[in-house]
Symmetry: C2
Amino acid sequence: MSNFHVYDTTLRDGAQQEGLNLSVSDKLAIAGYLDDLGVGFIEGGWPGANPKDTEFFRRARTELDLKNATLAAFGSTRRAHTRAADDPQVRALLDAQTDVVTLVAKSHTRHVEEALRTTPEENLAMIADTVSFLTREGRSVFLDAEHFFDGYALDPAYALEVVHTAAQAGAEVIALCDTNGGMLPPRVTDVVGEVLGHTQARLGIHCHNDTGCAVANSLAAVEAGASHVQGTINGYGERTGNADLVTVVSNLQLKLGREVVQPQRLRQALHLSHAISEVTNVVPYGRQPYVGASAFAHKAGLHASALKVDPDLYQHTDPALVGNSMRTLVSDMAGRASIELKGKELGYDLTGEPELLSRVVSRVKDLEQQGWTFDAADASFELLLREEVTGAPLVYFEAESWRIITDSGTYGDASPVSEATVKLRAAGRRVVATGEGNGPVNALDHALREALSEAYPELAEFELIDFRVRILDAAHGTDATTRVLIETTDGQQIWQTVGVADNIVHASWTALVDSFTYGLLQRGVQPRD
Amino acid sequence: MSNFHVYDTTLRDGAQQEGLNLSVSDKLAIAGYLDDLGVGFIEGGWPGANPKDTEFFRRARTELDLKNATLAAFGSTRRAHTRAADDPQVRALLDAQTDVVTLVAKSHTRHVEEALRTTPEENLAMIADTVSFLTREGRSVFLDAEHFFDGYALDPAYALEVVHTAAQAGAEVIALCDTNGGMLPPRVTDVVGEVLGHTQARLGIHCHNDTGCAVANSLAAVEAGASHVQGTINGYGERTGNADLVTVVSNLQLKLGREVVQPQRLRQALHLSHAISEVTNVVPYGRQPYVGASAFAHKAGLHASALKVDPDLYQHTDPALVGNSMRTLVSDMAGRASIELKGKELGYDLTGEPELLSRVVSRVKDLEQQGWTFDAADASFELLLREEVTGAPLVYFEAESWRIITDSGTYGDASPVSEATVKLRAAGRRVVATGEGNGPVNALDHALREALSEAYPELAEFELIDFRVRILDAAHGTDATTRVLIETTDGQQIWQTVGVADNIVHASWTALVDSFTYGLLQRGVQPRD
């Protein structure tokens, strides 16, 4: 394990992703999660290039208590025709006070000439000088050979010269970068093999996903002898992203038998991947290998019946090894076997109930036709199933009407406020209650809680933690049907409910009522008439 | 080209994706797009397995006019110990009246015994009997050897026997399926090579993305000699999805030099990928290789300055070959070089304006800190840039106030209706107008159009085509800051605007006003006082 480097660049290269914007606190939080995952190195950013990254390294010294990982600062070789010791950018790398410094260097002659505007010889001097200056200052120096594969194709002798120069100057790792992401695995295998034939240096690999092969390219390099692999969590990164370290590590460990992180840490992969996506505010990709919400989810009726026989026949690995689990999806493609399995997951034994199963299947099909989705709203599905099992819906209160007013005030003077009024009957009384909020759904949530507070004080412990809106027929813009998914917690459990309607507020009301109903049911609260 | 099969299974295997639900009309629309892309075969579904697929094949005969592709019906080998001619499922395949029938068959002994509950010998008989019955009926028969790679690992002799049996009975293609998706490229290379050493049959490959290697595995099979590749558009499919045919075809054509579709059709790849995602209602994945919105988008300040020198140094291929284009992203990581490039894209020459550039950079950084995002809202960025260039915002009307009421009516009796009232001054007059809608934003849109209809009749041609809501701080649920992205068209152009506020309605108002302002600006309309 110690002889293999898992090197994470989420905080530097990952942050180049379109729409991704990390604060210093975000970066510190992510670094903590990366450490928990067991990566060996965390590239924190480019000190000096922007004030945020400088501050990150300053705060990391006191606020970050890394147990496994070593922090690396990223920067560039010195400018042409200067001394490394005099280059402010190089000095900023020292000021970051990390054990490791990763230097990006050109290895492609046209990039040297056209982007760097210097000679190939001076580029080699810049590498030698900067690497040896930083090693003399006590740093472990890793070198990212930028555009290496393209450069090697154009001028292999020069690209190899870059590797030799860096190694002789003391670089501990030379990472070959497919910066533009155009490689396919066989070429990566060949190039890594050829370079290893010319050097004793430890080689690393840094891939982008422009051909959809970042993971396969990384594995090809490792199988060809590279022992340092770079990537980002969830494959964040510019353009199509970097190699997804979650997938790369899972493949290395579970498919190729290399223990590159401790197994108990890999079992946290799903949790850490999702925790990091909470910080980045990038919606998790459901189809992400290993840790995606759908990665072990089965919808096909064909599979569902066979899954009952032997789940391992239909799984490429045990999902628990990455903290995931198998799910059966309820959908209009589901037959009775899927509903029966799902019922079992929820604690309802439906064997020997073919008519009930058919009723549920047909109701699910009808509702999904209208835009409902139960595969992301288990709680709403359980209420539907319970209604069919018991013969009646679970009703904690009788709604009479609601109304929401959102007012700009005098334009520009103040923040608009929403005010909701709810009229309902609960626990034998008619209640009229009003709530304010910074949006219509927030106001409705407050008014409904207020109206029910006496009959169901338990509601005070429920908190809405996510609210997602999906326009179902985008061709009509705001005229379209709206689906609202709500996530609620009581501090212990988290549950999801769904509502669909033309009006976003109406859809939210439905999901909100389901959320409260499900939460009260889970706590064993009986309807109070 | 004619000697290579691009076989699409979006309508069958792709439809197994979590959250994806296709109507018959959806399937017909997608089949048309697939034909435009130039795939050789379109697997339409499983006739008889569900009424939707039966109806698809019926309607396809009259409503689908395929120019390139051949339609295939998918089904299973006959049941154990029956005759193919008597099996209703096999008869339904004939009734679909397609030229090609693709049969799924087991090639893994444990699946034969535990899922199919028959003997390995009977399974071979089922294959031989069903293939030869369908070929005698005039069909071209392709065989999907399910779980082939896992089956070959367990019992290679039996897996090969399945290939031989199908080939001898007349199957034209034997597609080796990595049904559980656990393979890596080197293993695929080995197995395809070994199977080809034992058969003259045309081999195909069918991959799932559970290790993140579906594309690489497909390419590995082709390089090992397979000449039929299956996949789905945008990689739709169960769990982590199938091999993304857009990426596979682009790689085959642009990286491996195999012309598997006509180049002018590949130039439509982005358009067709997005058109299909409109039908599936699955949000396009921005990081999708080749056709993703971010696939050729550059954010890094480092790159932006070098991009000015020579774009080809930073692109793995010419984006125009797949209908995409290079974009420069404006973000708080952008330096002045990016803003200058972006200005140039928008038609503003900002060279020699360092102070103006600094002002714009700092405003963008401030706003992005608050949750704005300009990389998805070019029109809002252009208005900001224009304001800094001209020294004043572009104002077509002066808003005074707005108010929206959403009322449930008597609960359960009717659909809730939203009503918005807008007060403003335009073209020298004070206007008060009211609009109704099926949601608050829709009502606001109608009221604002009504209020401005006399001053700016041009607005009648603008239509909102997408409306996306993002909760920025999901930890607080409905209390969070809201970002609204609006997409508008005038029938010619499409533009995106953004609004951020605590209140979703307020954020929508901001994005709506920007949308109208930008649209009027583009048409050369001057503010009418």
